[in-house]
């Protein structure tokens, strides 16, 4: 074969080799098909560790207990025994954020915003009467109880629930 035909062939070969070298450099070493499973497990192995290292934010009752053992005891005895503190006390609304005595984020490395929400909207999430809302509560430690449901239009509209109800004791004030 004459030499003019070899030139483009050399160029193509060089491009392919360069491509392979760059590919080898970019793709991480641990990018493999785990268990030989290309269909479902072809991935960067270290990503599994990255997800495991993701920060845990909801720490549950045991965390709150460090400073508020009395509150935890009261709640554990009440109808709200299965409701986590964080369900009501973690705030997304900037106006309701704020933990009074200490800075939880700095002092306890606690990532969420704690605050007090006294709005009817919060209580209504569970306690609004809807025809299709289950009205029996089976998880209460003292047996199945009637789940308290009210019609927010008729049950003292315009008044905050906490005016009369003690949320931690689940009784009247």
């Amino acid at each position: 074969m004459s030499s003019h035909a070899w030139r483009p062939v050399m160029v193509i070969v060089a491009v392919v080799i360069a491509g392979l070298v760059v590919r080898q450099m970019i793709i991480p070493r641990d990018f493999v098909a785990k268990n030989g499973n290309y269909k479902y497990q072809w991935h960067r192995l270290s990503n599994e560790e990255e997800w495991k290292r993701f920060e845990v934010k909801h720490l549950g009752r045991d965390f709150c207990k460090q400073c508020h053992p009395d509150k935890i005891e009261t709640v554990a005895d009440s109808g709200h025994q299965n409701v986590q503190c964080e369900n009501c006390h973690v705030q997304f609304d900037p106006e309701k954020k704020g933990h009074k005595s200490i800075d939880l984020k700095a002092d306890y490395k606690y990532a969420l915003d704690i605050g007090i929400d006294r709005s009817r909207e919060l209580c209504k999430r569970c306690h609004t009467k809807l025809k299709y809302r289950p009205d029996k509560y089976t998880l209460f430690s003292k047996g199945t109880i009637q789940f308290k449901l009210i019609d927010p239009e008729k049950h003292n509209p315009g008044v905050e629930c906490v005016m009369c109800h003690d949320v931690h004791k689940t009784g009247f004030k």
Binding site: V56, H58, K124, R125
Partner: protein
């Protein structure tokens, strides 16, 4: 080499008989298959989820906890887990809604913002919490051209945020609509079964937040886990089994109107 007519017929018939035995007929001799007859549940760790819809009151605390735990911007209309409300009227009409993914809960009888639905017209209604089904054969993983989404050995489907190119194939391919674009990272995002919590022996944020015992997570092969007990002793269903994804979120109390 000479061959008689008798030998030709004999060997010919023999090879035809041999050829028509399907490969699958020999599979029973595989050691794993034999072992599975003795131990019906494999020893492999595999996470699964149970949702008891008969207990769900639609408070949406799960959706709220999930958003905050997993750093999904609270006011963005994307959810890793959400709660759907199904209402059937006397006319036969079915109304399905999930206002803001139920992160503020269901506080009024206003399906799809309608005020004309009177309680007397409703024949049945219920809430169905939804999340990623962590399928055994995830169709979202099959279509990823970048190798950015995968199934772990313990059955959890994850997305590699560094590797995702944001093409969105997985989002359109999930039959359960469990995937979305993360508004901050601009990559595909989905429920991880709180992989950072379950691998530390904790429960997922949504399970912890549920005061009604609707949600349960556990190892499907562990005889001590509640998930195992429910799946082996009660009648459970999965969503959209016709897709063949083998989803691993099992539901109690589904209905034919649930999609």
């Amino acid at each position: 080499m000479s061959l008689t007519r008798r030998e030709l017929l004999k060997m010919g018939l023999l090879s035809i008989c041999g050829a028509i035995i399907p490969l699958s007929a020999l599979e029973v001799l595989k050691p794993e298959a034999l072992a599975s007859l003795i131990h019906p549940f494999s020893e492999k760790k595999r996470w699964a989820f149970v949702v008891d819809t008969t207990k769900c009151v639609g408070c949406g605390m799960c959706a709220k906890a999930c958003k905050l735990e997993n750093e999904i911007p609270f006011y963005a209309d994307v959810q890793r887990t959400w709660v759907e409300r199904y209402i059937q009227l006397k006319s036969g009409e079915v109304i399905i809604d999930s206002p803001k993914g139920a992160r503020y809960g269901f506080t009024a009888n206003d399906p799809q913002g309608r005020t004309d639905v009177s309680e007397d017209d409703i024949t049945k209604g219920f809430f169905v919490p939804k999340l990623c089904n962590h399928c055994e054969k995830p169709s979202c993983v099959q279509v990823c051209p970048a190798g950015a989404t995968y199934k772990t050995d313990d059955g959890v489907v994850l997305v590699d945020r560094k590797w995702c190119i944001g093409c969105g194939y997985c989002i359109t391919n999930c039959p359960y609509f469990a995937r979305f674009f993360h508004p901050v990272y601009n990559v595909a995002d989905k429920c991880t079964f709180c992989y950072h919590r379950i691998t530390k022996g904790m429960k997922t944020a949504c399970v912890d937040a549920c005061a009604f015992g609707v949600r349960k997570i556990g190892l499907i092969n562990d005889p001590d886990s509640e998930v195992f007990k429910i799946i082996t002793t009660q009648r459970v269903e999965v969503l959209k089994p016709e897709y063949g994804n083998e989803p691993h979120v099992f539901y109690i109390g589904l209905d034919h109107i649930v999609r």
